[in-house]
């Protein structure tokens, strides 16, 4: 093992933290969505690292499935965003408070 797995896990923890913070800070729905992608990538990196540490191809298979789910999620999510922008003028996360009870 060359670069220890703990370094990669630390890097993906940092990436996940940045993504989570961005999701909470930003108000633009598209940028929030990109932050979700950052978090997904952090998890993928963790999977690959543990696959290497345990010498188990199952981790790489999991990343394959995460990629498929991410693609499906982006298609539906962007469809919803387009539908919202068509109906309403302002569409930051704060403008979409009509759903609150």
């Amino acid at each position: 093992m060359t670069v220890p797995g703990a370094w990669y896990l630390g890097l993906s923890a940092l990436l996940f933290g940045i993504g989570a913070t961005g999701l909470l800070i930003r108000r633009n729905v598209l940028v929030m969505f990109m932050c979700v992608e950052l978090m997904l990538n952090a998890v993928n990196l963790t999977f690959i690292t543990l696959a290497r540490m345990l010498d188990d191809i199952g981790g790489q298979s999991s990343v394959f499935f995460v990629l498929v789910v991410a693609a499906a999620e982006v298609v539906v999510g962007l469809g919803i965003i387009v539908a919202i922008y068509r109906r309403r003028v302002g569409a930051t996360a704060d403008d979409l408070h009509v759903l609150k009870g």
């Binding site: 060359t2 670069v3 703990a6 370094w7 990669y8 630390g10 890097l11 923890a13 940092l14 990436l15 996940f16 933290g17 940045i18 993504g19 989570a20 913070t21 961005g22 909470l24 800070i25 633009n28 598209l30 990109m34 992608e37 950052l38 990538n41 993928n44 990196l45 690959i48 543990l50 696959a51 290497r52 345990l54 010498d55 188990d56 191809i57 199952g58 790489q60 990343v63 394959f64 499935f65 990629l67 498929v68 991410a70 693609a71 499906a72 982006v74 298609v75 539906v76 962007l78 469809g79 919803i80 965003i81 387009v82 539908a83 922008y85 068509r86 109906r87 309403r88 003028v89 569409a91």
Partner: protein, 195 residues
């Protein structure tokens, strides 16, 4: 000493792509223009692909670039351009008071938590090579394919159902919206906002 010297390229790749990942991630969070955020996301994705190659996941590195940078980010840019939301956003305004500090605190807590877990817990415990090996003879793509089409065949079939549902959902969402009684159209909303 020879063994240590051969590890230096790995460290260089790890460092460079790690910096690219973090710079891209911070850029996504802080850039005002959504287009810039999407391009910063590409930087992060390329860095993650390089880390994949560094850990013997060659096929997934290629898929990462093709699917993420090639399809998902292009889809983001398409939506940004189509909707015309590529104007600069006023980052400083904060309608919900105290949201930013609270978000920063929560983000820091998550970060410290994850760092502590990865530092003090040995996650790489348990049975090794359950679904097959990563190292050893043979191509990475062959081992991955064998694993997916034997051990993970049922989940693989389920993903096809998921993709069909996603396509149908996207088509339904993309249809022209029916007018709802009592709701202002987009043009009427703009008039109200201007007056």
């Amino acid at each position: 000493m020879v063994a240590a010297a051969t590890h230096i390229p790995d460290w260089i790749v790890f460092g460079v792509s790690g910096v690219a990942i973090l710079v891209g991630a911070v850029g996504v969070v802080l850039s005002r223009n959504p287009v810039h955020a999407a391009l910063m996301l590409v930087l992060t994705l390329f860095g993650v692909a390089a880390e994949f190659i560094n850990q013997q996941a060659h096929f997934l590195a290629a898929v990462q670039i093709i699917v993420y940078a090639g399809a998902i980010v292009i889809l983001f840019l398409f939506v940004i351009m189509l909707l015309g939301v590529d104007r600069e956003e006023n980052i400083a305004s904060e309608p919900l008071k105290g949201q930013r500090p609270a978000a920063l605190v929560i983000g820091l807590v998550v970060l410290v938590e994850l760092a502590t877990i990865t530092r003090f817990t040995d996650w790489a415990s348990g049975a090794h090579s359950v679904a097959g090996t990563v190292s050893g003879p043979g191509e990475n793509i062959q081992k991955l394919g064998q694993s997916i089409f034997t051990r993970y065949l049922f989940p693989f079939e389920i993903t096809s159902v998921l993709l069909v549902i996603a396509v149908v959902g996207a088509v339904v969402l993309a249809r022209r919206p029916h007018p709802v009684a009592g709701e202002l159209t987009r043009e009427e909303q703009e008039e109200v906002m201007q007056s």
